[in-house]
Symmetry: C2
Subunit: 442 residues, 2 copies
Amino acid sequence: MDKQNPRVVIIGAGFGGLFVAKDLANKPVDILLIDRNNFHTFTPLVYQVATCGLDIDDVAYPVRKIFARNDNVNFLLGEVTDVIADRKAITVKTNGETRIVTYDYLVVAAGSETNYFGKDVIKQRSFGLKTAEDAIKIRRHLLTLFERAEWTKDPKELEALTTMVVVGGGATGIETAGALYELFYVALRHEYRHMRDNHIRVILVEMADSLLGPYPDRLRQSAKEQLEDIGVEVVLGAAVEGIENNVVYLSDGQEISTHTLIWATGVKGASLAEMVGVELARGARIPVEPTMQVKGLDTVYAVGDIAYLEGPDGKAYPQQIPVAQQQAKLLAKNLMRQLNGEKEESFQYFDKGMMATIGRQRAVAWVFNRYQVTGVIAWLAWLGLHLITLMGFRNRLSVFINWTWNYLMFDRVARIVLGRPEDTETEAAQQSKNTLSQAAGD
Amino acid sequence: MDKQNPRVVIIGAGFGGLFVAKDLANKPVDILLIDRNNFHTFTPLVYQVATCGLDIDDVAYPVRKIFARNDNVNFLLGEVTDVIADRKAITVKTNGETRIVTYDYLVVAAGSETNYFGKDVIKQRSFGLKTAEDAIKIRRHLLTLFERAEWTKDPKELEALTTMVVVGGGATGIETAGALYELFYVALRHEYRHMRDNHIRVILVEMADSLLGPYPDRLRQSAKEQLEDIGVEVVLGAAVEGIENNVVYLSDGQEISTHTLIWATGVKGASLAEMVGVELARGARIPVEPTMQVKGLDTVYAVGDIAYLEGPDGKAYPQQIPVAQQQAKLLAKNLMRQLNGEKEESFQYFDKGMMATIGRQRAVAWVFNRYQVTGVIAWLAWLGLHLITLMGFRNRLSVFINWTWNYLMFDRVARIVLGRPEDTETEAAQQSKNTLSQAAGD
């Protein structure tokens, strides 16, 4: 490594960290990119991995491959355990030992994690849906669940096994609920002879009075109608109060017997935020200046979900990929400006709009926050945009082929479950073993 | 289920069990197919999953999908724990409980497992390479290993991390050794800036005096030459005596520092064989009549790797897929003949030959045990044959695309590692942690 170049350490290879590294890759800096995984995850499609539509390799990309031709970008597989800003150093746990890594500039891009709002019981008994690992856990759970449902003789047990609850009326919740329903009804149903005539329930629970909070009224309504049209039950104005013995309790008094609670709501800054040593803003996020510098720390920047910055309307920028990408580009530029003694620029967000898919030929899109589109057109736009923004030609090709296959063949291509059935039970399912009886034999 | 049809229970959805089920799928029998996994594995390509060339979904196929249109084939995800032949019943552990399943006819097709010949230390410290799960473990180990090697400052540690030992000079051993070498030299090397100029060693160890025992001399010699040509070191006439503190001890006195010992030699009948209640033949296999009926048990058949049957030359048929497939076809036919009171036929094996690939454009093939082919032609034949015999159009398409991509781009497509680095260490690596020092910082 060229000792004369300043050393930039980037924590996190999500959209924020990755785009900073990309934009600095040909600049006179030495970059060390650190992540707990050897890959970057295309998070908008993680729910499709969970619901057997795509494989993990389709939505993940090896970090080393991205920077194969950039000799000034090094990668370290490990977990950052502390930030010691006054010594310009961090500690990293890697290969079972802790290393000290020093920096000239630090970029904190550790993203966000699921927020259970202090409800530990929900954290333990529900499935998160943020990471590749989450997706694999859900997939394994679902396929094992169907295998159990196929052979159970107990009607109550069958009902609980075939009822799935998704919490959160944002894009992830909507997309997951739709995909869950279609997984069974479109793809798997005919393969399960004993249970194929049973009704499967997917219940989407949202605390607010409508789905898709930030969208205009018409699209919110349309999303609900499209979901109900395929068969998903939408419960609005209700929160999950608790879960016990495979029963989910809602604040409106409903009790739902289920083995599957997917928590697709609420994010907070990754726990790394607490290590930076500044007072955190709402949602456990690191407050940054409009230049993306952490408030009070000249040589530390933060970007993306973990950074807290208010827009002109006084509201914090949302924890979304386009925000992270645009902040990352500015951050890279400002870091070089700081190096060259130039004045840094302030963040300005260009909002291209938002979209969510619901199922086959169903979606909503709010293009440039101006044009409201629903149904097939929105769905095609969603597919096209996600294909374009995927990283790497091979992943695009693979996703395109898998989508086409799934659509035409009414199939789901990714249904291989590793691990014995015994390994895959949730705590809730294990707990229920004593209370629920299943007929022996078949 | 139609109660008048006799009930055939098949244990195992490998090549033996699967082909029996397929051939009985349209016959007047009720079939219950039981497997520990929800998928059938195309075992000849498992080593490519281990070495990042293919993904697990490419070489595995959901059992339920295979029989989606056969209403007389049911599937149970579970592990058979006992066979009670005199009561015509088996016990199956499924979803954490044990069920009793009765049969009219039982087909034991549980395959084989790795034979460590009683050497427990090797079992604990080495990687098997028979199942999809084995492959994922090896892949995770290799990629984590390279990450460690990239950052270590200790030359001895670096040497051990970059030395890989494969035991077994059969097709699997040869193919794995070649693929391991190419994984690093062809695909990954340029991405690891610190270690790319280091020499990586892959050592193939075979106890006999030549590789590929059953092949003719010229092909055995060619396989060795082709392996050495790409860079693999071949050690003949030596066995692994033990492994301790990351050192593999060979019977010829060699001591090899390594973190990676892949055990690609020796199979024995799956442990289920012991439950059938008959005296086992050599290799813990179940002795069968030429009709594929288990000796002494009228209503129990065995097929494939777990079955022991001698050919006209007095030698047992090898534990290979074509044998299993041909036995399965005969078994299905004989089972129907027994049902109809007809005379059963005896097994006759049609040997189409054998082949093994070594690397890019390198292979050996012994077609119909008659024509000896090496190099590019053998390699193309190998690729074509494996593509054809893969199950399902989508898997063929996906493997074809991935192979083409890997070949043209000098890449390996399947490099996503799930699980934290800490989870992935072998016992050997953990044990070494105290004795091996790594420089802090980088």
